[in-house]
């Protein structure tokens, strides 16, 4: 014990006394080896009393105990009377509970002045009745709850078993039984059962002797309709008297204990027979261990106020009997079990013995640790992680990202978790992955699943070693078994496999795809909702296009994840043919994993709120979300940036070999061109342009990201569209450059404003040999948009409703040079073959005459619209 802390307190108190003008008087100092107690007389006059508050006299005496560790340890204060017994925040009749959490509320620098200030505030609130009512005072006093008496972890809700009304009123106590499992001094309540159920379990042919290799044990639980006041008795006598007052008599108490003891003795016998090792040693030293239960303990539940809500929920306390008490109750149960006719007197005398013991026995309170949902609040309640609760999750990758993410899923309360990875633990990864030396050489998922399964008693993590692509994402695989798939492999093949699998999947769980940068200071995460037209591969394409457009906050993401040239300085941590990886510490990878998961869950939780009544996501909302996150050193002024996309229009091409995905942006550009053509030429004139995007032969997907309009040297009429070449190569080159080759030439589109989108004879001819600008695949996509009539006009003018009619066909491409008039250029129309007639050009100028043989003649200068009207009749 250091005297300095106490001296400081004494000096501070005396200073306060000297300057308080009589408001503070130190009456006495009572020394003790545990630190002195100062008797202090405080002027408490003028504190306003409100109904429900405590009564405070004009002066009150307080006993302030100063611990030797002061000011780093907090003093405690008691009143010198018991007038405030059974009021909130008064423990043991006299101890005032000033602080709910000293670690944040107590500031050592404030010293005794701060302490008395707090006391005054407490008195004011207590007098006004405004101290927050909560259940804290009803917890069994810590000093009595000895860990040696065991810990009781309560899992199941008591709920409707409680005999009291929601406001706590009621008269009749009720007994139920706690079905428990004991592991050393830890006892877990697994279930509340009635007596018949408990008996059945023990006397069953296949009795429930063990749970997870640990012995079962039964505890009677009495629920009384009275609060205990604000403290728990130290002696069995006081407890028993209290229970009697509440209608639970001593004989009933003894009978319930005896009943449970009979069952527990039987359990113990069977456990010893079945597996003596697993049955474990008795808790108490007794003479006749073979006829003794594992332990004798009892639960008492009382209605308790809650800080939130008005419904009274059970507060649970439990005490265990000491060796003697246990022996007496066992004896009592033993004699009671025999025929009462012969042993009536004995029963009575043993009963009396038990009652006598009650009178002088001390209570051994167990430490109750609440895990009941009804009285506990999850520490992640209300956070995005709560979205994971009760979900079935598949995590791909068990490494630097997958490991922490899988663990986060377990802790967030997923119902099922499957982890998949083909890797094994090698020594090098211990630097940043949560494996141990013992795990080296094992499959990562096996080691991970073992570790994660130990976190929660109710969850066994399922490991899937081996190839993610063939094991889980073969085409036709049923993904209905998961509510969420997280791809943390950072593996392009896996991304492609998932992309392909989702094309044909009937069930598409939300998909999260994440990668981190080569220096582990940036991360990228995408979330595809079930309504999304693509998966992770598609998501990353869209991110590349967005980042390539120079969007603020995304430029460094472009350089990091979509570099101009592939990174050549790969990092091979081990000799030989190991996978290249990145340099980064555990702090970095774990931080990024957490940030990326948090982003994904934030998105998923927000999207959850948009679900319609049938529980599905809306089809007309955004369905793809991406976020880029950064650690501090990579921050460019942007920490986290987010972007979202609506689903593409998905169609199959005519051959069925390709899925064509047309972005909303491309559709908007096509519509804009159609409107422009209608505005500057005539609504009946076809128009068209290039489709910019990419062919992916691995997945059979054609992405159309953008669409262009007709080059100035195009020919446009009511029945023909011949795409020009002026500026096309430049445009494609610019797109390739901007998007780092994400998007290039994929084909041509043109409109059929007067008919369905079916190819005309000249279209068919043209498709036989399409030539396009360089830089893409050996195929081209022909797209016709059309419809005619009102649906077409509505789509064009208002944008309401879907594109009336589309025709999509992948055709081979000629490898020829792109030159003007090349036969086989889009539409297949070499100018020579262009039927004679009047044509608009793509430049918006007046129409021209094309004569037989490809001779072009300008029209006489006049308003091109009126000229057109002369040829085709006035359409309005």
């Amino acid at each position: 014990m250091t005297d300095s802390g106490v001296s400081l307190a004494r000096r501070q108190l005396r200073d306060l006394e000297a300057t308080s003008d009589g408001a503070i008087q130190i009456i006495n100092e009572v020394p003790s080896s545990a630190g002195p107690t100062f008797i202090v007389d405080l002027d408490t006059s003028g504190i306003a009393h409100e109904p429900g508050g405590i009564r405070i006299r004009d002066r009150e005496w307080f006993e302030i105990w100063v611990p030797p560790g002061f000011p780093f340890d907090v003093p405690s204060v008691r009143s010198n009377h018991r007038r405030w017994l059974r009021t909130p925040h008064v423990h043991y009749g006299r101890t005032l509970c000033l602080y709910a959490a000293t670690s944040v509320e107590w500031n050592p620098s404030d010293g005794m002045r701060g302490y008395l200030h707090r006391l005054t505030e407490w008195l004011e609130h207590a007098a006004a009745g405004t101290l927050d009512p909560d259940d804290a005072p009803l917890h069994p006093p810590v000093v009595y709850a000895d860990l040696q008496n065991g810990r009781l972890i309560v899992h199941p809700d008591l709920g409707d078993r409680a005999p009291w009304a929601p406001d706590g009123s009621g008269t009749d106590p009720k007994t139920t039984y706690a079905w428990c499992v004991a592991n050393g001094k830890r006892v877990d309540v697994l279930e509340w059962v009635d007596l018949e159920t408990a008996k059945d379990r023990v006397w069953d042919k296949d009795p429930a002797l063990f749970h997870d290799g640990h012995p079962s044990v039964l505890m009677p639980a009495v629920m009384i309709c009275d609060e205990f006041g604000f403290e728990f008795p130290r002696k069995a006598k006081e407890l028993s008297e209290g229970l009697t007052e509440s209608g639970y008599g001593k004989d009933q108490l003894l009978a319930d204990i005896a009943t449970a003891t009979v069952i527990n003795v039987e359990l113990r016998k069977k456990q010893l027979t079945a597996d003596a090792t697993a049955a474990g040693p008795l808790w108490d030293d007794v003479d006749d261990p073979e006829n003794h239960p594992l332990l004798t303990a009892m639960v008492v539940a009382t209605p308790s106020r809650r800080p939130d809500g008005t419904k009274r929920l059970a507060h649970i306390a439990a005490w265990k009997f000491d060796a003697l008490g246990s022996r007496i109750t066992t004896l009592f149960s033993d004699v009671r079990e025999r025929d009462e006719k012969f042993f009536g007197d004995l029963t009575e005398s043993v009963g009396e013995l038990a009652f006598d013991w009650f009178d002088w026995a001390k209570l051994q309170w167990m430490r109750v640790m609440e895990n009941r949902p009804e009285v506990t609040r999850r520490r992640d309640a209300g956070t995005p992680a709560s979205w994971l609760a009760d979900k079935r999750v598949l995590v791909l990758g068990a490494g630097a990202l997958g490991g922490p993410i899988a663990e986060a899923c377990v802790r967030a309360g997923v119902r099922e978790l499957t982890v998949a990875d083909h890797g094994i633990v090698n020594p090098g990864i211990l630097v940043r992955q949560y494996f141990t030396d013992d795990d080296i050489g094992q499959a990562k998922v096996t080691a991970l699943a073992r570790r994660l399964s130990a976190i929660r008693s109710d969850l066994d993590v399922i490991p899937v070693p081996g190839n993610v692509r063939t094991e889980l994402f073969a085409p036709g695989q049923n993904l209905a078994a998961y509510d969420l798939v997280i791809d943390a492999t950072a593996d392009a093949s896996v991304r492609a496999a998932i992309e392909l699998a989702r094309v044909s999947a009937t069930h598409r769980p939300p998909l999260v795809t994440m990668v981190i940068g080569h220096e582990a200071d940036r991360g990228l995460v995408a979330v595809n909702l079930p309504t999304s037209s693509g998966a992770g591969l598609d998501a990353f394409r869209k991110v590349a296009l967005h980042a390539g457009s120079g969007a603020p906050g995304w430029r460094d993401i472009m350089d990091e994840f979509f570099p101009k040239t592939a990174r050549t300085e790969l990092f091979f941590p081990e000799p030989g043919c190991s996978d290249p990886t990145f340099v980064g510490s555990l702090a970095q990878t774990t931080a990024l994993a957490g940030m990326l998961l948090h982003e994904a869950l934030t998105t998923l939780r927000t999207a959850e709120a948009t679900k319609n009544q049938a529980g599905t996501y809306p089809t007309d909302g955004p369905s793809l979300f991406a976020s880029a996150v950064r650690l501090g050193n990579a921050s460019t002024g942007h920490g986290t940036v987010r972007e979202q996309w609506h689903p593409d229009l998905v169609r199959s091409d005519l051959t069925g070999a390709y899925e064509v995905r047309i972005s909303q942006e491309a559709l908007a550009e096509i519509r804009a061109e159609v409107r422009r053509g209608s505005r500057i030429r005539d609504p009946r004139i076809e128009t068209g342009g290039m489709l910019l995007g990419a062919f992916d032969d691995a997945t059979g997907i054609v992405n159309i990201d953008r669409a262009s309009g007709p080059p100035p040297d195009s020919y446009l009429s009511e029945v023909h569209f011949q795409h020009g070449i002026k500026g096309t190569q430049e445009r494609v080159d610019a797109e390739l450059r901007r998007s780092r080759s994400t998007t290039g030439f994929v084909g041509f589109w043109h409109s059929h404003p007067n008919s369905q989108a079916t190819p005309s004879k000249t279209d068919e001819q043209g498709m036989a040999l399409v030539v396009g600008p360089d830089g893409s695949s050996q195929r081209a996509l022909m797209m016709i948009v059309g419809g005619g009539g009102q649906p077409w006009a509505d789509w064009r003018d208002t944008g309401n409703g879907p594109l009336p009619s589309t025709y999509l066909r992948v055709v081979p491409r000629s490898a020829g040079p792109v030159v003007a008039g090349h036969r086989g250029y889009v539409g297949g129309l070499d100018l020579q073959l262009l039927p004679p007639g009047t044509y608009f050009r793509g430049d918006g100028g007046p129409p021209v005459q094309v004569l037989a043989g490809g001779v072009v003649r300008a029209q006489p200068a006049t308003s091109h619209r009126s000229l057109w009207a002369r040829f085709f009749g006035d359409h309005e």
Binding site: S549, G550, A551, P552, G553, P618, D620, G621, P622, G637, H638, V641, H646, Q664, E665, L667, A668, E669, R671, A672, E673, R675, R676, R679, R706, P711, P712, K726, G727, T728, E730, R731, A734, E735, R738, W795, T798, G799, N800, P802, G842, D843, G844
Partner: protein, 367 residues
């Protein structure tokens, strides 16, 4: 294809000053916005001078875009100048307005009677058109707000005429529904060409609701902000201005020619005009930087800056039949009739730049 989030894609549109060059360039931009379906997403349009003319013709003009387009084309082709001179030269008006040009820059000549200047002639000329006969609250398109800005010569502040109300921050809110013709004429009264417009309004101060009557002398809104952007910029306080909007997207249509070299003018009005040009260019550099910063800071979701004077090589993607900067940048900023070729070129460049920049930087608009 109108997405449910369309309401979130609210767009602010600013149409800069610069005589008919601005009107024609802006018309081209509006064509591109119309084609792309973005015009329906414009919640606020703000115009200055030549841009205010276009702002008024669209906001208070016919519902149909084609009719609107035709009305602007007709006006640009026929010109305001002659109509203006014709009205100003009527006897009586001539006598009182002889020194109209000088009046704007000469202190002590502020208190001139109404209906005596060539700017008043402009008011009459505008009022002769359908859109000019309306008042500021009378916007044609539902959900659209219009702002036309002039500069108050006395306080140096902007006078904002708006469909939501009109105000000048040092004086308060104008208790009248201002005629569109007055607003446009005031906004277009370029000091080198036209005298100030004088109007007497009753103002209500926002802080104490006190009322007072004051005569304001207004000149071209471009003196204060030639882009029309300032009422649309994010981060404005309601405390200081009546016009605060939450617009995630900004489209600025700027008919400025950029830095040009020209012979130093050797007469007084030429010098003044040149001085104004330099001041504008400098101020616009600042506004452009501010938009860019707002975008970088994420306050703006996106912006398009269609700038007549932009260097062609800076286009994000090449345009095959681009109307080059050289073709149009020295087109004058007056209100004289435009030839079909010049109109086609200036409007064509406006349309091309707007279309390309929109597709490249805000592809989500109009989806």
């Amino acid at each position: 294809m109108t997405s449910p989030t369309a309401s979130k894609l609210a767009v602010g549109l600013a149409l800069s000053g610069g005589g008919f060059r601005a009107t024609a360039f802006g018309l081209g931009a509006l064509r591109a916005l119309h084609d792309r379906g973005v015009l329906d997403q414009v919640r606020v349009v703000s115009g200055i001078s030549g841009g205010s003319l276009l702002t008024a013709m669209w906001a208070y003009g016919p519902k149909s875009f084609d009719e609107f387009d035709a009305s602007v084309t007709d006006l640009l082709r026929s010109g305001l100048q002659r109509e203006l001179i014709g009205r100003a030269l009527r006897p009586g008006r001539l006598a009182r307005g002889l020194s109209g040009t000088a009046g704007a820059v000469l202190p002590g000549r502020f208190h001139r009677t109404q209906a005596s200047t060539r700017t008043e002639a402009l008011v009459s000329a505008i009022r002769a058109h359908d859109f000019g006969s309306k008042t500021m609250t009378d916007v044609t398109h539902s959900g659209l707000e219009a702002i036309v800005s002039a500069t108050d010569l006395a306080s140096g502040n902007a006078v904002r005429f708006g469909s939501m109300g009109s105000a000048c921050s040092p004086y308060g809110v104008i208790d009248a529904d201002v005629p569109v013709a007055d607003a446009v004429a005031a906004s277009a009264a370029f000091p080198a060409i036209l005298p100030q417009l004088t109007r007497t309004y009753t103002f209500t101060q926002q802080n104490d609701q006190s009322q007072h009557t004051r005569t304001v002398l207004m000149t071209d809104g471009g003196v204060y902000d030639n882009l029309g952007l300032s009422p649309l910029l994010p981060g404005r306080s309601k405390k200081f201005t009546h016009h605060v909007y939450d617009l995630p997207y900004l489209i600025a249509v700027d008919a400025g020619a950029g830095r040009t070299t020209s012979q130093p003018p050797d007469f007084v009005f030429g010098r003044m005009k040149r001085t104004l040009e330099i001041a504008h260019t400098r101020a616009q550099d600042g506004t452009r930087a501010r938009i860019h910063e707002s975008r970088e800071a994420g306050v703006l979701k996106g912006h398009v800056y269609a700038y007549l004077g932009m260097q062609d090589r800076n286009l994000p993607v090449p345009v095959a039949d681009l109307v080059t900067r050289d073709r149009v940048y020295n087109y004058p900023t007056d209100f004289k009739a435009m030839s079909a070729e010049d109109l086609g070129a200036v409007a064509g460049r406006g349309e091309q730049l707007t279309r390309v920049l929109l597709s490249s930087y805000c592809p989500e608009l109009g989806t």
